[in-house]
């Protein structure tokens, strides 16, 4: 009987585990072969890919990348594809795992008629050299690791570097006129790196406009933030610079509203998303973030993207999602520029020298393939992100 129970228990555990990762590794191909016109002889699809976590802890990011890239590819196919050839988007689930991401990269490098990848999330730092060896362009919409583009000359980053984003956050604090900073950073590589970077930036700038009055390293998640807030309060912080994810920013903000109602909370671009607004509710009103993307913009391209994204996912696209959309735009434009040639080196060169104007603004790259981005301070007002 004991044995049976143990077996049953083991079985249950296995079933629940399997259930959690039920979406297998098979690519969800979305070949929209509705292409028309162009060269009537060659209808072989041009393949591009998006890879991101569709399941697991970071699934919200991957799902956003996936939807955004589909919208961009569908738009191109509706306009006749590239040179009459349809575009086929290969969509892979990285499952929030580095190993899985690497396996996907190996699979992709074996594809015929394949010209580039948007994404990777957990495996960004593991796949760069592989793609570079195979001369496949990789455009990341989210990588925050300093060394990402150093992996090889096929690695491009449309996401702002940590310094650029931090400058954007500092500008937010300055715009709000609250420059006594309390830095709250996550105790992982990214959080510590961001904080070190901030200190370096302030030294370079001669530390005139801002002053760090307190820095709090946090474990993140479901911790009791009151102790941290007490420290910030005692140090006289006016602005909290949040180097942490929205699942820490929201609980922090809720608590801060009681004890420090006047605290200006500036978070990173990762908080520019719908869940942050929904869960935060009235408490995140007034939170600031630098963003290259504003869903409220009147620009027709932005409107098209936001409406299409809302129709497909019922959500407002996040800043990172918009970057993925533009990354796919940059990739397809570069492929299209080399009429019929489809020479990999030429495509890489076109990406490097692009003058693409996307929903996140100019997408040009610096010499070392990092995007040069322009941030605008945004603020939460009436449940949405608007220009400050």
């Amino acid at each position: 009987m004991k044995k049976k129970l143990c077996m049953l228990l083991a079985l249950l555990l296995v079933v629940t585990t399997l259930g959690a990762c039920g979406n297998g590794a098979a690519p969800a191909s979305t070949a929209s072969a509705s292409a028309s016109g162009g060269n009537p002889t060659d209808k072989t699809p041009i393949k591009v890919a998006v890879a991101g976590p569709l399941t697991g802890n970071y699934s919200e990011y991957g799902i956003g990348f996936d939807a955004a890239c589909k919208i961009m590819v569908d738009k191109w196919n509706k306009d006749g594809g590239i040179n009459g050839r349809p575009i086929e988007l290969l969509s892979y689930d990285e499952k929030s795992s580095t190993e899985e991401g690497l396996a996907i990269a190996q699979l992709l490098c074996g594809e015929d008629n394949f010209y580039g990848v948007v994404g990777h999330f957990s495996a960004s730092m593991a796949v760069g050299t592989l793609y570079t060896e195979e001369r496949v362009p990789l455009i990341s919409a989210s990588s925050s690791s300093a060394g990402f583009t150093g992996q090889g000359d096929c690695c491009f980053r449309l996401n702002a570097t940590i310094s650029t984003e931090t400058m954007g956050m500092l500008e937010c604090a300055k715009t709000a006129g609250k420059t006594k900073l309390g830095v709250v950073y996550l105790n992982n590589d990214w959080g510590r790196n961001a904080y070190d970077n901030l200190k370096t930036l302030l030294q370079e700038k001669g530390n005139e406009d801002w002053e760090i009055v307190d820095a709090e390293e946090i474990a993140g998640g479901d911790m009791d933030y009151n102790a941290v807030i007490s420290n910030l309060n005692a140090a006289g912080a006016e602005t909290a610079i949040m180097f942490c994810y929205y699942d820490s920013v929201v609980p922090f903000t809720i608590k801060a509203r009681t004890v420090m109602p006047d605290l200006n909370i500036v978070c990173g671009v990762n908080c520019y998303n719908d869940t942050f607004l929904k869960v935060g509710g009235k408490d995140v009103e007034g939170c600031m973030a630098p963003s290259v993307f504003a869903a409220v913009s009147d620009d027709p391209d932005v409107k098209y993207f936001v409406d299409e994204y809302k129709a497909r996912t019922t959500q407002v696209p996040s800043s990172l999602t918009a970057q993925a959309y533009d990354a796919m735009g940059v990739l397809l434009t570069a492929i299209a520029e080399n009429n019929g040639e489809l020479d990999k080196e030429a495509i890489l060169k076109s990406i490097q020298n692009n003058d693409y104007k996307g929903v996140t603004g100019s997408c040009s790259f610096s010499e070392n393939r990092d995007a040069t981005r322009n941030f605008s301070p945004m603020v939460v007002s009436n449940g949405q992100w608007i220009y400050y």
Binding site: L9, E216, S230
Partner: protein, 292 residues
Amino acid sequence: MFVEQLINGLAIGTIYALVAVGYSLVFGILRLVNFTHSSVYTLGAFMVYVGVEYLHLNIFLAILFSLVTTGFAGVMIDKMGLEPLRKKGASKISAMITTIGLSYIIINCLNIAFGSQIIRFPDLFNYGTFKLLGATIAWQQVIIGAVALILLVALSIFINRTRIGLAMRAVQQEPSAAAINGINVNMIISLTFFLGAASAAIAGTLIASYNQYLRSSMGDIVGLKAFAAAVLGGIGSLPGSVLGGLIIGVSESMAVYKLGGSYIDMVAFSLLFLVLLIRPYGILGRKGSTKV
């Protein structure tokens, strides 16, 4: 500043204490670490949420609803998962593994039903702040501490001053003698699980209201720390659990105050480690002690 951090620590400490008592109650009676306790704590908070959001109850009825359903869930964990094992004379380790498995099942069910994201929870005690010795203190902290403390005192009176409590202590000390003196041992075990689950439900509700959100993973860390608190104070000892909870709560806020926020999770277990080196049975625990 010190006062502020002390209050922060005491507020969270009473919650740890309330959860720790549940570990102690069940351990005292079955000599079993009940790992479903942290998921029952989470379940309790979700049941209040269900009461408010789906059954449209007012908050007090929702809490009552949660107490009854969560308490009942605690009893069912024993009746369906553990009592059959006891009857077959299974080892303690099988029972313990069963509780770990059941805990995963409960959390998985919550995940399927509500997702793993943050869900907003009504703030029950937001009455702003007040000043004490120059420190800014939120009323909600005081109220949470007071509610938890009142419950702990009530529980202690129940166990030490009523004959049902007497029966509970009897079962803990000598189950066979208790049975032979007419105590329905299974009923007492069920009652213990009910009390443990209901106090966890209240603790979960207090925390959810304190943080103003809940999510299915909210019991992971609190459950472990409360368990540490129970062992620190001497598992099986009710005053020990309370003391352990308060010590861990205060030392955590002091760690944030003096060392920084990333030390918060380390403190509880470092403390546990040190105390057990000096007092292997916990601060108020005794060797072979069976006293609640």
